[in-house]
């Protein structure tokens, strides 16, 4: 620790420091204001309006849309269970991979990282269609049917949807965990072992706390979008479940009832924001986290 006072103890330095902070936050602030806050304010206003006769929005003040939105509790719960299941699945598949990449891969780290993301530069649609082939009667389902001599169906069931979800969201789980674990100093583990800790204890008290921010970020980056996901279940699950995403798409695009869709969207956003804030607070309440500027 330096005994010297930093150069920022004088007011000129403090002003410069504030200027730097402002400059750093300027671009994102502009984007958030113009392309997030303003559009969402419009959505909120729409949620109190009525559907224009030809579709769209007409100014009004009514709570009808919210009353109807409360009726979407079923799709919400279905989406919730799908998102939870999907996140757990992605975690089980992604965490060991991220750990291996960060701690064991050595020279091949970057290569593995790139190889992980390159499949996603082919189109989402034909990737998903490939799963239709792989899991269909010409693929796995047919193979298993021949094996068991009976009928076997994977497509149109939750299994197919899970495969599709884990496949599609894997990078979002792996990348955050990787970047946190990669920073971990291996000597810490060795020190821990030298002090007599077993493998599991080392993991729990050294590795896990370091990986935790990555785990949290990864889980949220997977769970949140999965709540709105409906295309993968539509294609691989044959649309046999009705999700929040379906309800929103119907409102906005099929019925062109923007107020109804907006109310559902607002409710979803509020519920999830509250849930996540609570979740993060719960996670961090014991931890002594201190934000220090790395600049």
């Amino acid at each position: 620790m330096s005994a010297r006072t930093t150069a920022r103890s004088d007011t000129g330095g403090r002003a410069k420091s504030a200027l730097l902070t402002g400059a750093l936050l300027l671009p994102i602030s502009v984007w958030y204001l113009l392309l997030l806050v303003v559009p969402l304010v419009m959505v909120a206003i729409f949620s109190f309006g009525r559907r224009a006769p030809n579709g769209g929005y007409v100014a009004d003040f009514t709570l009808d849309n919210y009353a109807r939105a409360l009726g979407t509790i079923d799709p919400f719960l279905t989406s919730l269970s799908m998102a939870i299941g999907g996140t757990i699945g992605t975690l089980l598949v992604g965490l060991p991979l991220a750990y291996f990449m960060a701690t064991r891969a050595g020279r091949w780290k970057g290569l593995l990282l790139l190889l992980l993301i390159i499949p996603f530069w082919t189109s989402f649609l034909i990737r998903t269609y490939s799963w239709l082939i792989l899991l269909g009667q010409g693929g796995l389902a047919g193979f298993l049917a021949d094996l068991t001599g009976g009928e076997f169906r994977i497509l149109g069931t939750w299994s197919a949807v899970m495969v599709g979800l884990v496949y599609g969201y894997l990078p979002l789980m792996v990348f955050p965990i990787y970047v946190t674990l990669e920073r971990m100093d291996r000597t810490l583990i060795e020190a821990s072992k030298d002090l007599g800790a077993g493998r599991w204890a080392s993991f729990r008290q050294v590795t896990l706390p370091i990986a935790l921010p990555g785990l949290v970020t990864g889980s949220l980056l997977v769970f949140i979008p999965m709540m709105g996901e409906y295309v993968i279940p539509q294609i691989l699950g044959y649309g046999r479940v009705f999700l929040m995403g379906n309800a929103l798409y119907l409102d906005f695009v099929e019925f062109r009832n923007w107020p109804a869709g907006s109310a559902k969207a607002v409710m979803l956003i509020v519920i999830m924001l509250v849930a996540i804030t609570f979740y993060l607070w719960f996670l961090n309440r014991g931890r002594r986290t201190r934000e220090v500027s790395m600049l």
């Binding site: 579709g55 149109g156 009705f242 099929e254």
Partner: protein, 393 residues
Amino acid sequence: MNDIDRMLRTTPINRRSALGVLGLTGASAALAACAGGTSPAPSTEASAPASVAASTEPSAAASFEAESELLIYNWTDYISDKNLAEFKTRYGTDVTQDFFASNEEFITKVQAGGSGYDLGCPTAEYVQALIEAGIVQKLDHSRIPNLQYINPTFLNNAWDPNADYMIPKDYGTTGILYRTKLVPEPVTSWKDLYDLTIGKYSGKVVFVNSMGDVFPMPLKMLGYSVNDNDPAHLEEARKIFLDLAPHILALDSDTYDDKMTSGEALLVLGWTGPITDLKANPDTADTVYLVPTEGTIFWMDVWMMFADAPHPNASYAWLNFIHEPAIQAEETIANYYATANDEAKKLVPAEILNDPAVFPPDDVIASLEGSLDHSGVQQRADIWAEFASKIGG
């Protein structure tokens, strides 16, 4: 022709469309009352193109110099390559196309202000909403002399009686596709489809994921018009929907042909699009398409010009060009959809002309109805959402 007449002119109109029709009729009457000017110059038209030679002759469409670019918002693969090349040769205009995946996406985007195109190619019933929003440009017929070749009952249809805003591109129907080899029972009506779906072939039936195309089924089964919005009638339709829902394999507009090929779907409520490919594949060559006896909807894709079209000259040149009989016939050959242009029909090869899936025979035409845009009818929306949520049980 009487039957088409009846189909197209006497489609029961609900209050909303009556207003629209009256509005249009009023506007065109007012226009006709004006002395025959060249450009109607509605308030929604963009700045006058600088290169317009103010000609008072209605027939010389080529006297307007077409711009070098034309922007069309269209379905994929919906214009013959030969025609695009021919257009370029004649007018020197490059046609740039952007593609949309569904009418709903088209209209949602355009209605919300997404713009920049010259021409659009949606299905007719969706244009009404855009007309009332002032997004569609009124057409100057004097610049489209080839309109004379279009069958008047298609040109002056219930959606746009005076063809002020849209010109027919092609038309087709929504019906039943099924594998004759795997379904030995006779399938001729919606009732047959209903019985087989809740009965023997439960779990092997696919409906397209489109409210406008599926709602006519129960309504026609019950003997009502597809544009019937009587709450009691819609409630009856709802019961049929709920009967069907648990037995339907999927609501799928895009891969039902694959499902037919794999044998997962034996009966489909769908469109004629995949029929050529299915028939070409020896495994599925037994697939047939039919229009049910109770009747069904016929859809018509139309050309419309955006009010703020950046290249109006090229747009008019295109609209006139595409209805030149030889050009239009080439479209029919390339796209395998029926044309409303009588002169072009004479140039269409016999095997397409005689294909009932493409050109419905007269007795079938008698049972066809044009559907209006009912996306705003709350009861329909609720029923559809309920139906979609109960698919598969």
